[in-house]
């Protein structure tokens, strides 16, 4: 492991890669601040730029964007009570009241330090957990992978759908259907191309991500007359107050951070759960463990109430890398985008990544830590200036998002058809978003579609067409049982709500 850490450090500490982490953190912070534009959009917009880099550098840039976006989301939560990303909703519960009391600078500093500590601790957990998990996952066979993908898709549908499980499952199926367009990987038979040569290679992953996130996000903002920057114009972003944290506040944070980081990391590891659930759970748990006197302060500007979700959401980000790096199965929509980018680089994540491309595996883990340090150095002194970016008018923001989306497709294919297809998918996605059809399950399904078919093919061929492979191995049965439990839990929750 020491050797791996050194490989990772050597790769991550090159001038180019440090620069990439800095650019990623800065760009991610800006995008994450704008309500509605989360880490997925930020990473999707970065994909065209990563074409010019090697896989490790490209991924380091994306990891920086991811952390930056989560941190940026906290800034708008605290200053404007408008969370940039769902994972920072819980941050606004105590961060915004603190800002209203004239302690915005302090709230941002607590958020920055908590994010740093949460991210650092979870990078350490990841450092120890990922290699052992990689070794365990080498024993996984095709039926286990197939079952695991079913679990991942069901979990993301259950957790990301805000009570709209069936809608999320429809999006999963739509994502798998889109992935099935083009040549069959084994027989080279074309499917669903309708004799259009442009579809023979299938629909590009970048196209689907740009269309369903970046472009449809921009169209939704215009359609709904939302101005993500309007709230910024109503608050004074220069009067943030002191960013110093006193001893009493530090003592509170010392207790909160370790427990919230463990919750965040473990929730992040679960497929589909992610930063949102982690931050809410950490907030809830923190409220239960603090003294009655401190409990009274929750919702009114509590240090514990702000530190807990901030620690947990950053820890969950690192946790979500575990299934992606060790099993090749993304745990969240954001890591699904990163997985798609990795596949685009010709790198196959999974247990063997640890052995075949140790420089990628370790440099991502190392760059997470470096990213945390850079976020802290970059964001603490720059908070008042970065916050002003919130006031960029949407008249400029929207065309720039559309421009980045079209450029991404243009440099990839030099093909008009792909641009029309992207616009078409974006229009459909915008309409579906209006009626609360979630997009992350679609992306996860699209990324997993090919792998899922491959593993099902192998399993069915090995079992001579029998579906017994689903319960032949204990591991497969356990994974499927977990899937069934998630579905049953969801049905129970839906009916208990109705009653």
């Amino acid at each position: 492991m020491i050797e791996g850490i050194l490989i990772g450090l050597t790769t991550a500490l090159t001038l180019q890669n440090i620069l990439m982490v800095m650019v990623g953190c800065f760009f991610g912070t800006i995008i994450g601040m704008l309500p509605g534009l989360g880490p997925m959009t930020a990473i999707a917009l970065m994909i065209p730029i990563t074409y010019g880099f090697d896989p490790a550098t490209g991924l380091i840039l994306m990891a920086g964007v991811y952390y930056g976006a989560v941190f940026g989301g906290s800034t708008s939560s605290i200053l404007l009570n408008a969370p940039g990303v769902p994972g920072t909703v819980a941050t606004s519960f105590d961060g915004y009241p603190m800002a209203q009391q004239g302690k915005a600078g302090k709230a941002l500093a607590i958020a920055a330090w908590s994010s740093f500590a949460g991210g650092t601790l979870s990078a350490i957990y990841l450092l120890f957990m990922a290699p052992s998990l990689s070794k365990v996952s080498l024993s996984f066979r095709s039926p286990d992978y197939f079952a695991l993908m079913i679990l991942g898709l069901t979990a993301i549908a259950a957790f990301s759908s805000k009570g709209q499980f069936l809608k999320a499952m429809m999006m999963v199926v739509l994502g798998l259907m889109l992935a099935s367009v083009g040549q069959d990987s084994l027989s080279d038979i074309t499917r669903f191309t309708f004799d259009n040569m442009n579809l023979t290679d299938g629909i590009s992953f970048v196209l689907v991500v740009m269309a369903t996130f970046a472009m449809s996000e921009a169209l939704t903002i215009i359609l709904k007359r939302n101005d993500p920057t309007s709230a910024a114009k109503q608050v004074s972003l220069t009067e943030l107050g002191s960013i110093k944290i006193n001893k009493e506040e530090r003592t509170k944070m010392y207790k909160t951070i370790p427990r919230s980081s463990v919750i965040g990391f473990l929730i992040g590891v679960l497929p589909g759960a992610g930063a949102t659930i982690a931050s809410f759970l950490a907030y809830g748990m923190e409220r239960n463990v603090v003294s009655d006197e401190e409990k009274e302060k929750f919702g009114k500007g509590s240090v514990n109430g702000l530190s807990a979700p901030e620690t947990a959401n950053n820890a969950a980000c690192s946790g979500s890398f575990v299934p992606m790096l060790t099993l090749g199965i993304p745990g969240s929509g954001t890591t699904a985008v990163m997985l798609g980018a990795l596949l685009g680089f010709g790198v196959q994540p999974g247990p063997r990544l640890y052995m075949t491309n140790p420089e990628i595996f370790w440099s991502i883990i190392m760059s997470m830590y470096i990213g945390m340090v850079i976020l802290l150095i970059l964001n603490l002194p720059l908070i008042p200036y970065i916050a002003r970016i919130l006031a960029v008018p949407k008249n400029y923001l929207i065309p720039l998002i559309l421009f980045f989306s079209v450029t991404g497709i243009y440099v990839m294919s030099f093909n008009n058809f792909d641009i029309y297809l992207m616009i078409g998918i974006a229009v459909v996605a915008t309409f579906l978003r209006l009626y609360d059809f979630p997009m992350p399950p679609l992306i996860l399904a699209f990324v997993l579609g090919g792998l899922m078919e491959e593993n099902l093919r192998r399993s069915l061929l090995l079992s001579n067409g029998s579906w017994e492979f689903l319960w032949d191995r204990t591991l497969t049965s356990c994974i499927l049982a977990t899937t069934i439990l998630i579905v049953l839990w969801h049905i129970y929750k839906t009916f208990s709500k109705k009653n």
Binding site: M169, L432, L461
Partner: protein, 156 residues
């Protein structure tokens, strides 16, 4: 059964799944693969049935969380114009070239979204695209096809 837009979307998805399933059955596989436990049409067929199942359930089951969209407050005109500009941008980018079409696309989008600060609009279109092109083409070595710049001798 209460008919709302979500149900209509589910119905459309049901029809789409039925069409997908029909097309999946039409996929031509090799003769020796016809009776294999798994061939090119197996997975799409399962997907077609899954689509019918979930959209069918959504159609039949009551919808307690009905989403109401206030269509009168939606900005259809600006969104439509923006989509149209994007389509024109897509149609001309290959023939005219990246620099000119992208700059004009940005300029037109700012204008239609209500911006009237001409100098800022200009700076955030033509020079901005030139700088971005330099980043992609000059520094990152990502090829950008541009017949217009090639014709005036700016690009090799």
């Amino acid at each position: 059964m209460n008919i709302n837009t979500t149900k209509i979307i589910s119905l459309l998805f049901f029809i789409f799944s039925a069409f997908y399933l029909y097309t999946a059955y039409q996929i031509q596989v090799f003769a020796f693969d016809e009776n294999a436990p798994f061939n090119a049409r197996t997975f799409p067929i399962y997907l077609g049935y899954a689509g019918l199942f979930f959209s069918g359930l959504k159609l039949i089951l009551p919808d307690p969380n009905t989403i109401k969209v206030d269509h009168e407050n939606l900005e259809y005109k600006k969104t439509g114009i923006l989509i149209l500009i994007a389509i024109i941008y897509g149609a001309t980018i290959l023939k005219v070239g990246y620099f000119l079409t992208t700059s004009l696309f940005l300029f037109a989008s700012y204008y239609f979204l209500g911006e009237r600060r001409w100098i800022l609009m200009f700076l955030l279109s033509f020079p901005f695209v030139a700088a971005f092109m330099y980043l992609l083409h000059g520094i990152l070595d990502i090829y950008l096809r541009d017949p217009f710049l090639q014709s005036i001798g700016v690009m090799g």
